[in-house]
C-alpha cells in the first residue's frame, strides 16, 4: 500500500495517528511506553500550534544556537569539481551540528510537559553534546547512552558531555555502537517514563518521533530555500545530505520536496539500509533495515560513528519507495578524501558525516557538470580531527 498522494504538496504533512509514511513508520514499542508516545504526540501537536512556543523556540535558535546558518558558495571547490556547490552551514551552529535544532525544540517540549530529566542516545556524540547542552541551559538532569566503541572513537565529546553535567553511560551489548545506545535509551525510557523525556536524536523511532524531528529540522530547509531564492533566483538542481537516521537530510529535503530539485541522500557503504531496501522493524518503526536472513539486525560499519546505524528513518524509506528521493552510497576511502578536499579548498573542516555527501558529489561530478548542488554541511570536523590524524599521519 503505497501512499497514492505522491505529489509534492501532500508530502511531509502531518502523519495520521498511526504515524505512517506510506508503508513505513508506526509505533512498535512495549505497551509500557505507548501512553507516553501518545502523550508526546498530543503535546507536540499542541505546542507546535502555539505561537508562544514557536516564538520561544525561534528566539533560542537565534540567540543561543546562532541561526540562521549561512549559505556559503564554494568558489574554489566548485571550479575544481566543475559544478556550482553551495553549503548550508549547520556546522556553524552552537555545539557544532544540526543536532541542536532538534534538541532545543524537544527540551522546550519536555519542560512544557513537566519532565525534569532528558535521556538520549548518541553515536558520534553530537546529539549527546546537544542534549547535555540543552539540559544545562534548562537545569534538567541528563543521561546519555553511548556505545563503548564510540566512547573510544569520540573521547572528546564524552568529556564535553561530562563537562556539561551529563552522565554518559556505556552501551556494552551487541555491536557497542549507536544501535545499542538506542536500545539502552529505550530501556531506560521504559523504566522512567513518568519523569523522563527521551530526546531521540534523529528522524527515526516510534511515532511521533520521526514527525517531531522532521518538523524541528525543517528550519534548515526553510532557511535554505529562501537563501537559494535570493542567491539563485530559484532553487538548486540537486539537494544532498548524509543519512544515518536521516534527520539532517529530512530537514533540508523538507524545503525542496515540492520543487523539481533532485533529492539525494548519501549513506555509508557499510550501512546502506535504503540501498538494500529490505524492510524490517527495530527501535519502534518499520523502515529499511540491515538484517540477516532471519531478521536479526546486523551491524553497520562506517568510519563515522554518526552514520553507524543499521536502519534509516521511515520517511526516507517512503521517499525512496515512491521515487521522490534517491540514496547513494560511498566508501570510507572516498569519505577520507572528501574530508581533506573541503578542508584544503575552502578552509572548512567538515564532520565525517557530511563528508559522505561531498564524497558522492565528488564522485558524481561528471554527471553533475554545470549544475547547482546544495549540500547540507551538517556538522564541523573538530570531533573527528583526532581520528583523522591517526588515519592520515
Amino acid at each position: 500500500m503505497t501512499d497514492p498522494n505522491t505529489d509534492g504538496a501532500s508530502l511531509m504533512g502531518t502523519p495520521g495517528s498511526d504515524g505512517r509514511f506510506g508503508d513505513f513508520g508506526g509505533r512498535f514499542v512495549p505497551e509500557t511506553i505507548v501512553p507516553a508516545c501518545e502523550e508526546l504526540a498530543a503535546g507536540f501537536a499542541d505546542a507546535w500550534a502555539d505561537p508562544a512556543f514557536r516564538t520561544e523556540l525561534d528566539g533560542l535558535l537565534a540567540d543561543y544556537a546562532g541561526r540562521p546558518s549561512p549559505l556559503t558558495e564554494c568558489h574554489r571547490l566548485s571550479e575544481e569539481l566543475g559544478l556550482r556547490l553551495l553549503l548550508k552551514r549547520e556546522d556553524l551552529n552552537h555545539t557544532g551540528s544540526h543536532k541542536i535544532n532538534n534538541v532545543l525544540g524537544q527540551a522546550l517540549l519536555a519542560r512544557r510537559m513537566g519532565k525534569r530529566r532528558l535521556l538520549a542516545e548518541t553515536g558520534a556524540g553530537q546529539h549527546g553534546v546537544a542534549t547535555a547542552t540543552a539540559a544545562a541551559l534548562f537545569g534538567m538532569d541528563c543521561t546519555v547512552y553511548m556505545g563503548e566503541v564510540d566512547m573510544v572513537r569520540q573521547q572528546l565529546n564524552v568529556f564535553r558531555m561530562e563537562l556539561l553535567g551529563a552522565e554518559v553511560r556505556p552501551a556494552s551489548s551487541g555491536s557497542r555502537t549507536l544501535k545499542d545506545a538506542v536500545n539502552e535509551a529505550l530501556r531506560d525510557w521504559v523504566a522512567t517514563v513518568e519523569e523522563s523525556h527521551y530526546c531521540l536524536g534523529s528522524a527515526m523511532g516510534p511515532h511521533p518521533y520521526p514527525w517531531i524531528v522532521r518538523e524541528l529540522q525543517r528550519v534548515i530547509g526553510t532557511e535554505a530555500r529562501e537563501q537559494c531564492r535570493r542567491l539563485l533566483g530559484g532553487h538548486p538542481d540537486i539537494v544532498t545530505a548524509c543519512v544515518g537516521g536521516g534527520s539532517n537530510a529530512i530537514g533540508i529535503f523538507s524545503g525542496f520536496v515540492d520543487t523539481d530539485a533532485e533529492l539525494v541522500g548519501v549513506e555509508p557503504a557499510g550501512g546502506a539500509a535504503v540501498a538494500r531496501a529490505v524492510p524490517g522493524v527495530v527501535h519502534g518503526s518499520k523502515s529499511y533495515l540491515l538484517q540477516d536472513e532471519w531478521g536479526q539486525v546486523t551491524e553497520a560499519e562506517s568510519i563515522s560513528a554518526g552514520l553507524d546505524y543499521p536502519g534509516v528513518g521511515p520517511e526516507h524509506a517512503h521517499l525512496a519507495d515512491i521515487g521522490r528521493a534517491r540514496y547513494e552510497q560511498v566508501t570510507d576511502a572516498e569519505v577520507i578524501e572528501a574530508f581533506q578536499l573541503l578542508s584544503r579548498t575552502e578552509g572548512i573542516i567538515p564532520a565525517l558525516e557530511p563528508a559522505h555527501a561531498l564524497a558522492w558529489v565528488s564522485r558524481a561530478r561528471a554527471d553533475l557538470a554545470g549544475r547547482t548542488v546544495l549540500l547540507n554541511l551538517s556538522g564541523r570536523g573538530d570531533k573527528d580531527v583526532g581520528q583523522m590524524m591517526e588515519i592520515l599521519r
Binding site: V29, P30, N183, V297
Partner: protein, 269 residues
C-alpha cells in the same frame, strides 16, 4: 470464504481453556521462561520445568535487539545467538520436546515480520506452540499478525502495563488471547529484591475488568514474591531469576529445583 475460514477471534483457544480450567480449580498458575538455545540442553529443561510444576512455559526465540529485556535475558539471548541458533532451529527442537504443558513462544516482532506473518504463525503451530508473545507489538499494530495467528490457532498474548489507562486496559484485555500478561513493573525484565507494589496494583486493575487469566511477569524473583502476587493475580511468569541461576553456573538441577520452589510458594499461598 467458507465457514471454516472464518477466524475464531472471539472463541476461547486451547491455551486459554487450559489455563482457565486450572485456575477455576483453585490452582495458581506458574509460567517459567526458557531461552531457546541457552543452555545447550534447553529442550530437556523445558520438559523438566513441566514436570516440576509449570502450567505453561515461555520459550524465547532470541532476537538481536531485545528492547524489553534487562541485562540477564539479554545476556542469555546473545549467548544463544552466538551459538548459532535460528528461529527455525529452535522451532525444530521444540517439535521434538515432550512437554507436559502448553508452550508459548516469546520473541520480537521483526522475527515474525521478516519471515512473514502467515508462515511464522504456521511454523509455530506446526512446532506445537500454543501461544505467542511479541512485546514490541502493541494493540495498535497487532492486527495483521494477530489475524494470521488466530487462523493458525496460535493465541497472541498481549501485555497490559501499569502506565495504561483503564480504558486502554479494557481494549488490551479484549484483544488478548490465551491470557493477559500483566507487566509488573514500569521497566524491563530483571530481578528485584522487593516485590514492586505496581505488580499487585496492575493485577488488581486487570482482575476487575477481565475474566481472562491474569498473569503477572517482570520482577517476580522469589517464591515469596510469587505467592504474594498470586493473592490477587491468577499466576506469575518468572524469567530473569531462573536465567540468572544458569548464568551464575548453578546448573540445570538448581534451575529445576527453583521452579519447584516457586510451585511450592504458589501452592502455600
Amino acid at each position: 470464504m467458507s465457514a471454516a475460514d472464518v477466524p475464531t477471534t472471539t472463541g476461547i483457544g486451547p491455551l486459554e481453556a487450559h489455563l482457565r480450567a486450572r485456575r477455576d480449580a483453585g490452582h495458581k498458575l506458574l509460567l517459567p521462561y526458557v531461552t531457546g538455545g541457552y543452555p545447550d540442553d534447553w529442550p530437556r529443561m523445558v520438559e523438566a520445568f513441566g514436570q516440576a510444576g509449570a502450567d505453561a512455559i515461555e520459550v524465547s526465540i532470541p532476537f538481536s535487539d531485545p528492547m524489553m529485556d534487562g541485562p540477564t535475558i539479554q545476556q542469555a539471548s546473545s549467548l544463544a545467538l552466538g551459538s548459532g541458533v535460528t528461529p527455525a532451529s529452535i522451532l525444530d527442537a521444540v517439535e521434538g520436546i515432550e512437554s507436559a504443558v502448553p508452550l508459548i513462544a516469546m520473541t520480537y516482532y521483526n522475527v515474525a515480520f521478516h519471515m512473514g506473518h502467515r508462515r511464522f504463525a504456521q511454523d509455530l503451530a506446526r512446532a506445537g506452540i500454543a501461544g505467542a508473545i511479541l512485546p514490541d507489538l502493541p494493540l495498535e499494530e497487532v492486527g495483521p499478525w494477530a489475524e494470521c495467528a488466530d487462523q493458525a490457532g496460535v493465541e497472541t498474548v498481549l501485555l497490559a502495563a501499569p502506565t495504561g489507562s483503564d480504558e486502554r486496559l479494557v481494549r488490551v484485555c479484549e484483544r488478548a488471547r490465551g491470557f493477559v500478561y500483566a507487566v509488573g513493573v514500569v521497566g524491563t525484565t530483571g530481578e528485584r529484591a522487593e516485590l514492586a507494589t505496581s505488580a499487585v496494583q496492575i493485577a488488581r486493575r486487570l482482575k476487575a475488568i477481565t475474566d481472562k487469566p491474569v498473569i503477572v511477569g517482570l520482577g517476580i524473583s522469589t517464591p515469596d514474591h510469587a505467592a504474594e502476587v498470586a493473592e490477587v493475580a491468577d499466576g506469575v511468569v518468572v524469567a530473569s531469576a531462573i536465567i540468572r541461576k544458569l548464568l551464575d553456573g548453578e546448573g540445570f538441577d538448581a534451575a529445576v529445583e527453583f521452579v519447584a520452589a516457586l510451585r511450592a510458594g504458589l501452592d502455600r499461598g
